[in-house]
């Protein structure tokens, strides 16, 4: 009984979430904030992981990250909608729909072509955003402070409340995704990654898998963008810039596609490395970040998820070498 309970995904997740929420009371404010931001990035990373399980990597998640952030921001500024949870949900839906629309265009391509075309999409959006002065052009704009079910927390608690919300959202998304990964369609996606032709010869559509995964990734990317915008209280076209997309890809590759929580850990790691190298080496932080990226790709090629791949059990125990 106990063993079953401990192996239960929901139990594990709830345990982890409770611990993190409690931990949030004791850790300093800046860390609360960094974790929130890591969760925002982690959500986007989860989207890419979902794509990776189907054999694709998008180098243009800034596209949906930006759309999600801007939809949350514009709804906040122009429609007076400030409920963080609602905004997260709406941006998920909006970007999911956008994803669904462009997915058929992208899903015909594979490998580097898919990556580059998605990158091109994000760059076109960047070009549009810096041009539109009505939404702040290159400067972006400030988001109104968030509310939660009509209540606006005082400044002292605002960060913590958002932290709790983002952990709950991340936990919920993680559970759903884990269910998806463990389900038959999730398994078929993994099969597509290994051998698309055979999946077609078994009677399933690899194209549909790609469209579905891209839509999920788009929704999650948008949600991450909204969370990032809400957390920072500001949004600008940099959200869609290719360097931002590059960070998402890095998070996913650092995490590997085997484990869900590893994504958030990878996002946190990147956030900490970037922030501390910026703090202690303001002149050469790019060098340090670059070397960190290269070394982690060389030495952890299948991702930190492979260190605790049994943590949440997955189908594929071994990555193709």
């Amino acid at each position: 009984m106990l063993r079953n309970l401990l192996n239960n995904i929901i139990f594990q997740s709830v345990f982890l979430m409770t611990t993190l929420i409690l931990m949030g009371i004791f850790i300093p404010n800046w860390l609360v904030f960094v974790v929130t931001k890591a969760i925002a990035y982690g959500l986007v990373g989860l989207g890419i992981i979902t794509l990776m399980r189907g054999g694709l990597v998008s180098f243009g998640q800034g596209f949906v990250f930006g759309i999600g952030g801007y939809s949350a921001g514009l709804l906040g500024v122009h429609a007076g909608l400030t409920d963080a949870i609602l905004l997260l949900f709406i941006s998920f839906i909006v970007t999911g729909l956008v994803g669904l629309i462009i997915a058929p265009l992208l899903a015909r391509y594979r490998d580097i072509f898919f990556a580059m075309l998605s990158l091109a999409f994000s760059m076109v959006l960047y070009g549009i955003l810096i041009k539109i002065d009505a939404i702040g052009g290159s400067d972006g704009f400030v988001l109104p402070e968030s509310t939660y079910f009509g209540i606006k927390p005082t400044t002292d608690y605002a960060d913590y409340v958002l932290y709790v919300v983002s952990i709950l959202v991340a936990g919920f998304v993680s559970i759903l995704l884990r269910y998806y990964y463990n389900s038959t369609p999730g398994l078929i996606a993994l099969a597509v990654r290994e051998n698309e032709l055979r999946v077609e010869y078994l009677g399933s559509s690899a194209f549909k898998v790609a469209v579905l995964n891209f839509t999920i990734a788009a929704g999650l990317g948008g949600m991450g963008g909204a969370l990032n915008g809400i957390a920072l209280g500001h949004i600008d076209p940099e959200f869609t810039y290719w360097t931002t997309s590059g960070e998402f890809v890095f998070i996913s590759i650092l995490a590997g596609y085997l484990s869900v929580p590893a994504v958030f850990l990878a996002a946190l790691l990147l956030e900490l490395v970037r922030s501390f190298s910026g703090r202690y080496f303001p002149d050469t932080w790019q060098l340090i970040l670059g070397v960190f990226l290269i070394l982690s790709i060389i030495f952890i090629p299948s991702g930190i998820g492979s260190f605790f791949k049994n943590f949440f059990d997955t189908f594929s125990k071994n990555k193709k070498s």
């Binding site: 982890l16 929580p261 303001p282």
Partner: protein, 433 residues
């Protein structure tokens, strides 16, 4: 069970690493003033602005800590407190800067943040600054909107906003009798470039309603290739070409335009054209009308304070200081004065943020570029005198600035409570020249 244990190990290792970070990050010193300094240390804005500004700031902070600055800045550090500066790179966009700002305030627990060249960052930071109750000094950015669209308690800007750069140039052109029957502009396609052109072209239209506006070019920022734009501007045969280009873009524009006779065929005005002079030296064209965003560098006033600063910087770095170091030092001086004023009120003890903010409001202080008055935005936004000049070769064949006309702060800045755009559109009511 193994899974459960693993999750515990994972959690505790994460926790442990956090705590390690905490230990390193929190060290509170006495008699110390922690100052976060944010400016461009990488990317295209580093060479023209960030690095020279920080060079100036670094030098001035060192001198302050040694008590070697002249009066009224001769007290050690800030009111006797040693200044510890934490430099942070401003590149990466406004959203990233919000995060860096939070890190400075929450993790490093700085007493104040001085920084921001980019207008986008200046628009993003103040709301967070007030939210975190963090004293913030904007030292360089240009957009007038910061204190026109909102008001903040803990945020101050110690330099005039960009409206005066272009108003003064328009006035100069008319006063000196230049032909302004037609004007054209080349400005970068973002807030700074667009605002600058708007301020300039509207000012000209107000002062000389008959002048015709020809090309309004807005090339992409950091594009670096201006061959086509130069052709188009030359083709337009506009009498005056205005530009607020800066940094590498301005240098590339000059290098590409000069051999094509651009500066001989049309009167060029650069609203912020001085900061590339130390680098370009004699490659800088003659006959260009330029501003320095204040009385800085070659257009600085003849005061003892300026003479000291000019020489100190020159001795240290081997080039003369252009606007960036002037502006950062101006910010440091304002902050120092506010702190020391608040300290006096507080009986010589280290004042808190609210006390410093109170003291800062409406402050007036003498800087190398002239008298700075925190007069706009209800005492949060500075105005300062301005100067416009024209480049020429001196008798040794070196490029210098001549024909300097100085403008009172109240002549080229709007009065408190009126937006810069409205003031220009209304034809500068109440300008005290």
């Amino acid at each position: 069970m193994r899974i459960f244990r693993q999750s515990l190990i994972l959690l505790s290792s994460v926790l442990a690493s956090f705590l390690t970070f905490l230990g390193t990050a929190n060290a509170d010193g006495h008699g110390e003033f922690k100052l976060g300094v944010v400016t461009f240390l990488s990317g295209p804005a580093a060479e023209p602005f960030g690095v020279p500004a920080w060079n100036g700031g670094k030098l001035f902070i060192k001198l302050l800590n040694e008590g070697k600055a002249p009066a009224p800045y001769n007290k050690k550090g800030f009111g006797g407190m040693k200044i510890t500066a934490i430099p942070i790179d401003e590149s990466g966009g406004a959203t990233k800067q919000v995060q860096e700002f939070r890190n400075l305030v929450q993790r490093d627990k700085v007493d104040a943040v001085l920084g921001y060249v980019s207008s986008g960052d200046c628009m993003a930071i103040p709301s967070v600054a007030d939210e975190l109750k963090a004293l913030t000094v904007l030292y360089d950015c240009g957009t007038p909107r910061v204190f026109e669209d909102a008001s903040y308690k803990y945020v101050f800007r110690t330099a005039a906003h960009a409206a005066m750069d272009n108003i003064a140039i328009a006035k100069y052109l008319i006063e000196k009798g230049h032909d302004i029957s037609s004007i054209a502009g080349i400005n970068q396609n973002y807030a700074w470039g667009k605002d600058s052109w708007k301020d300039f072209s509207v000012s000209i239209k107000k002062l000389s309603p008959n002048s015709e506006i020809k090309n309004e070019l807005f090339p992409k920022i950091f594009s670096g290739q201006y061959g086509t734009e130069i052709s188009a501007l030359l083709n337009s045969k506009a009498k005056v070409v205005h530009s607020s280009l800066w940094g590498g873009d301005l240098q590339s524009f000059i290098l590409q335009a000069k051999p094509r006779g651009f500066f001989k065929r049309t009167q060029v005005v650069f609203s912020a054209g001085d900061h590339v002079m130390p680098g370009l030296g004699n490659k800088y064209p003659e006959g260009v009308i330029l501003g320095a965003r204040g009385q800085y560098g070659m257009m600085a006033p003849d005061t003892a304070l300026n003479a000291w600063w000019y020489k100190t910087y020159m001795d240290e770095y081997g080039v003369f200081p252009a606007q960036p170091p002037y502006r950062m030092v101006q910010g440091l001086m304002g902050l120092k004065m506010a702190i020391e004023k608040a300290m006096e009120k507080n009986g010589g003890k280290k004042p808190n943020k609210d006390q410093i903010a109170d003291a800062f409001k409406g402050l007036e202080f003498e800087a190398p570029g002239g008298l700075v008055q925190m007069k706009l935005g209800n005492g949060h936004q500075a105005i300062q005198p301005h100067a416009i000049g024209k480049t020429a070769k001196d008798k040794n064949g070196n490029i210098t600035v001549t024909d300097i006309v100085r403008y009172k702060a109240s002549c080229v800045n709007p009065p408190n409570g009126i937006k810069a755009v409205d003031w220009i559109n209304a034809g500068f009511p109440g300008a005290d020249c």
